[in-house]
């Protein structure tokens, strides 16, 4: 009985953990919704107008004390910003030792001309953070993945579609460093009191309290029966995995 009771409370704590992580991401998505409605209400579509307007929205999030977001902005569908293809009104927060930008103390706008080692990527709109919201019309979490366009770091990208006049006008989005998320998520995982991992929809480990299942690995079905089910983090495609048997 005592054991069952303990297992029940581990399950309950794991559900609380999933709910808290869901809330953390929903907070960011709430910010994206706010940005989305402001972009959708825009009537000025020259780059000289779009870029400062987007920076006015996202800048404060990037320069706040200990920001959760390392990058944010609006990526306009081809033709939406006058005379431009896919247009990046995207800012990177202050960076440490970035391979292209070095160390910066202020936000810098993503300059694709300085990322041409990546121009073998022929179609950026085919990338998951754009393609999925475009296809589903819904918000999406991409990653964790190594982002070699912006931060050259391990990140999650949250995006939400922007629709103007009934057609896809792009995505608003935000990047979160996995090592920054870890600081917020680890205490939540530890509170479960059993080995626990936060994983993406694909089963990629984001944060884990189990050294056998480190960040970056895949926790797939063949990881074994030790993993007793997955608890969805509400409002996201992320899951909390719980190890109950040793």
């Amino acid at each position: 009985m005592a054991e069952n009771h303990s297992a029940d409370s581990v399950q309950a704590r794991a559900r609380n953990c999933a709910a808290a992580i869901g809330a953390l991401f929903n907070g960011v998505f709430g910010t994206l919704d706010h940005w989305r409605s402001r972009v959708e209400a825009s009537t000025a579509w020259d780059a000289g107008e779009v870029d400062p307007a987007v920076y006015a929205m996202v800048g404060p999030e990037l320069t706040a004390a200990d920001p959760l977001l390392i990058g944010a902005g609006f990526i306009a569908a081809p033709g939406v910003v006058r005379g431009k293809g896919l247009h990046f009104a995207w800012w990177l927060g202050p960076l440490e030792d970035n391979p292209i930008l070095g160390t910066t103390t202020e936000p810098s706008q993503l300059d694709l001309a300085s990322r041409e080692y990546a121009d073998y990527l022929r179609d950026l709109s085919a990338l998951e953070w754009y393609r999925v919201p475009e296809a589903t019309g819904a918000r999406h979490i991409t990653g964790p993945y190594v982002d070699h366009l912006c931060t050259c770091d391990y990140i999650l990208t949250l995006t939400a579609p922007v629709v103007v006049g009934g057609s896809m006008a792009g995505v608003v989005g935000a990047d979160v460093l996995v090592r920054r998320l870890e600081r917020d998520a680890l205490p939540l995982l530890r509170a479960v009191g059993a080995p626990t991992a936060l994983v993406s929809a694909a089963g990629r480990v984001i944060v884990s309290t189990d050294p056998q299942l480190p960040v970056g690995t895949l926790a797939t079905a063949d990881a074994g029966p030790a993993w007793s089910g997955a608890i969805a983090c509400p409002g996201t495609n992320l899951k909390v995995l719980l190890r109950t048997a040793q």
Binding site: P99, L112, S114, E116, Y117, D119, R122, V146, Y154, R204
Partner: protein
């Protein structure tokens, strides 16, 4: 450099990795060498405007005076000219010598041991990335890599260099390691044009493409040993090609002399 990447400029692959941050001594020479390589290899084309001295300094992470010295050296070599005025700046000149001859000068400038060691280092990094990618690739990632390679053009020298480098960067991304990705970017910025010199040879383009297909298949099959072996075979070929080209060049020169 314009904000918007131009779709028409040929062989602009890795153009801005040209400007990635530098470390170590002799930075002015390093900046000049990076710019010279980029111009000789057509990564920067005749008529292209270089970033301003201030922008170069920022991009390379060097002092303004260092960027100015480097630009001066490239100008003295006759590779760029600097125009004053509102529409001014430093512009890449059309070189009268065939790029091939300038490339040969670059090849002469490196010793055998430098070329061989570069291949060992790049090969170790790339093989490690491939092994890790084979272990960690999700089904989606493997499919994306395969689809990307399927559409990649290896028929022309300039696109091949860009795509051959891009392939290894993609593999580093699949390895899930930011350090490996950063090191790939750094190494390709420094030596990419050298490494892919062999792709001026159509037979080598076909060979590299076929090897890349085997690597992608091995990654999709989670066969780490096969992925590693395929990458190592390719880097051995690159190394042998570069050493043979250098030998041919220098023996030819010795016979002429």
């Amino acid at each position: 450099m314009s904000q918007e990447p131009s779709a028409t400029t040929p062989s602009r692959g890795a153009r801005a990795a040209v400007f990635a941050q530098l470390t170590g001594a002799g930075r002015s020479e390093q900046v000049a060498q990076r710019l010279t390589d980029a111009i000789l290899l057509g990564v920067l084309a005749p008529g292209d405007r270089l970033p301003s001295e201030a922008e170069l300094a920022k991009r390379f992470g060097v002092a303004l005076v260092t960027a100015r010295d480097a630009l001066g050296a490239v100008r003295e070599a006759g590779l760029v000219e600097t125009r004053r005025g509102r529409e001014g700046g430093s512009f890449v000149l059309a070189t009268e010598q065939a790029p091939e001859r300038l490339l040969q000068a670059r090849l002469r400038g490196l010793s055998q041991v430098e070329i061989a060691d570069l291949a060992v280092y790049f090969g170790t990094l790339a093989a490690g990335c491939a092994e890790r990618a084979a272990e960690l690739a999700s089904t989606d990632e493997a499919e994306r890599l395969t689809a990307w390679l399927h559409d990649a053009d290896f028929s022309a020298a300039s696109d091949s260099g860009r795509n051959a480098g891009g392939f290894y960067l993609e593999i580093a991304v699949v390895s899930q390691s930011p350090r490996l990705v950063r090191e790939q970017i750094r190494l390709q910025a420094e030596f990419g044009p050298m490494l892919w010199l062999c792709l001026t040879d159509p037979a080598m383009r076909a060979r590299v493409y076929a090897q890349n297909q085997r690597t992608a298949e091995a990654i999709a099959a989670h066969d780490a040993a096969a992925a590693r072996a395929s990458v190592r075979a390719q880097i051995s070929d690159l190394s042998a090609w570069l050493l043979a080209a250098k030998e041919h060049l220098e023996q030819g020169a010795a016979a002429d002399g």
